[in-house]
Amino acid sequence: MAGQTLLSLEHLSAHYVSQQGTRVVRAVDDVTISLGAGETLGIVGESGSGKTTLALTMMRLLPPAARIVAGRMMFEGEDLLKKSDEEMRKVRGKRIAMILQDPMASLNPLFSIGNQVAEPIRVHEGAASRTAWQRAIQLLKSVRIASPDTRVSQFPHEMSGGMRQRIVGAIGISCEPRLLIADEPTTSLDLTIQAQYLNLLRDLQREHGLALIFITHNLGIVAKMCDQLAVMYAGRVVEQGPVSRIFNAPTHPYTKALLGSIPRMTDGGERLTAIDGQPPDLSNLPAGCAFAPRCPAVTTRCRVEAPPEFVTEPGRSARCWLAEPMALRSSAA
């Protein structure tokens, strides 16, 4: 399924700076990720790990307090960071689309469903209202909304949560983007509705050759949906690679601990491996590796020197001194 590289982030950093410029939060710090056309990438992390900032950086939708301070963001051969706001507006919603967590907040309660689904088609493709409306009906059908002809002229409050989220999905794919970023798309949905929605996204991906990025804290979604995984901790990607390789043999102690901490349906009720301590405060990171205070395998070196990203096998890397002996070459060099 993997084709040529669609998106590649190179040493990307985005920081939040306080008004006086005294406090800097390194929400995204030196992130290097690449994604092929039609692939699915899961970005996993806890709250405050920088995963949502990373998603907003990719869309260039960061709030005013945030700056992209370094790096390149290559998408279809062009650096998105070099684009003007005007040019970026043509990419957003057309080439790259995004689905947010709360479908009620992403839909305008005052406009009909058809109006909102048709909007990107009118704006980006200059389609006439009537054509766009017809396309909206088609799109509702493709996200499996029953009786799309009547639903199209209804309003968001007339829909259930699962339907609203599917409508947001329809808006996302309306201009046939190459990349769809989904930020916690199913957190507000019930289990069976979540399963329906994830299957729908997978079908849409197959039909349209979409690349998908899932931003989530849920490793289950990654296990179900993704080919590639990037684990974030304190603004950095601490481990990345193919999903099955990481689940079977995680390198970074944080990934290991995360995988050990999820209860399984078939377990005998043994104790879970909990990770001690709390996620760190991004404005006040410890010297050295940010995970060191919670790491079961910590050494003195970890506390003073942050590990670079070690490439341990092609397409796989970890930011941990433990990975150094396995490293093919240091990508930081």
Partner: protein
């Protein structure tokens, strides 16, 4: 062995007003004739999607709602027959931990006051004794003793949930209702809290009523599970039996919709069409029949009763 808590044919109906002028009236059968029992030192897990009645069940058990029908027996005594003193005793014996530890702790109170509050309201305790109890509980939930003088904002989500647990335990209850106790917490913190709850159960012989969306967490924590759909129990039994081999088509679909814990576990899904219908006008017969892949002619006429099938109870015509 008497069950700590036993619910018999428990029912709660809410009157619903439909329409702006309230012309038509409907009845929401939030909980519709359910029975279950929780034994000492055991955990009963309740699973189901939104609108299935699990939160109403928790409220009934906590005495926050009066049942419209049926009864709750606590240590063999019917709650409806209790006098004021008996009621008070019941409230002390049944405590709760809620989902959002940011909403459930008063930001203006010190941790010591938060934990001691149930004790102050219910008993006459000397200040010295109060202080001793608070530090004992902080120790029990794994927080440092100096936490007593701090305020909730000085704690993270996981620590706040520990404080909420300490408050629930201060009156030495026999049953604790856990309503989504880890859903609001970070993944790396969830395991800490689940382990803590397990340890406390072993040490203090507590019983839990555990309500959660996360099926794996429920299966992990519970001894028995009841699966609810639109106010009714569709399947109940040993947690392991149900997690490994569900019988009711809804339970099957629900567990197959749960996310895998490993990519190699990607399994076959039972596709469910549609969404949970409105509890104001539930479908006739078996409430699940419009979404059921095995629906038969009798399913929309006749309501199936719970009956024993291979060591658990199932309400489905497929097995009768």
């Amino acid at each position: 062995m008497t069950a700590v808590l036993q619910a018999n044919d428990l029912t709660k109906h809410f009157r619903a007003r439909r329409g702006f002028f309230g012309g038509e009236r409907g009845v929401v059968r939030a909980v519709d004739g359910i029975s279950f029992a929780i034994d000492p030192g055991r955990t009963l897990g309740v699973v189901g999607e939104s609108g299935c009645g699990k939160t109403t069940t928790a409220k009934l058990v906590l005495g926050l709602e009066e049942p419209s029908g049926g009864s709750i027996l606590f240590a063999g005594r019917d709650l409806a027959g209790l006098d004021t003193a008996g009621r008070r005793d019941y409230r002390r014996s049944v405590q709760a931990v809620f989902q959002d530890p940011y909403a459930s702790l008063n930001p203006r109170m010190r941790i010591s006051a938060i934990i001691a509050e149930p004790l102050v309201t219910n008993e006459t305790v000397e200040p010295v004794e109060l202080k001793r109890r608070v530090s004992e509980l902080l120790d029990l939930v794994g927080l440092p003793e100096r936490s007593a003088d701090l305020f909730p904002h000085e704690f993270s989500g996981g620590q706040r949930q520990r404080i909420a647990i300490a408050r629930a335990l201060v009156l030495s209850p026999r049953l604790v209702v856990l309503d989504e106790p880890v859903s609001a917490l970070d993944v790396s913190i969830r395991a800490q809290i689940l382990n803590l709850l397990r340890d406390l159960q072993d040490r203090l012989g507590l019983s839990y009523l555990f309500i959660a969306h996360d099926l794996a967490a429920v299966a992990h924590m519970s001894h028995e599970i009841v699966v609810m759909y639109l106010g009714k129990i569709v399947e109940s039994g040993q947690a392991k039996t149900i997690a490994r081999d569900a019988k009711h088509p809804y339970t099957k679909a629900l567990f197959s919709a749960a996310l895998p814990s490993h990519p190699d576990e990607r399994h076959e899904e039972v596709p469910l069409s549609g969404e949970v219908p409105s509890p104001i006008s539930p479908p006739s017969g078996c409430h699940f029949h419009p979404r059921c892949p095995h629906a038969m002619a009798r399913c929309n006429r006749e309501e199936p009763q719970l009956a024993e099938v291979e060591g658990r109870l199932v309400a489905c015509h497929l097995f009768s």
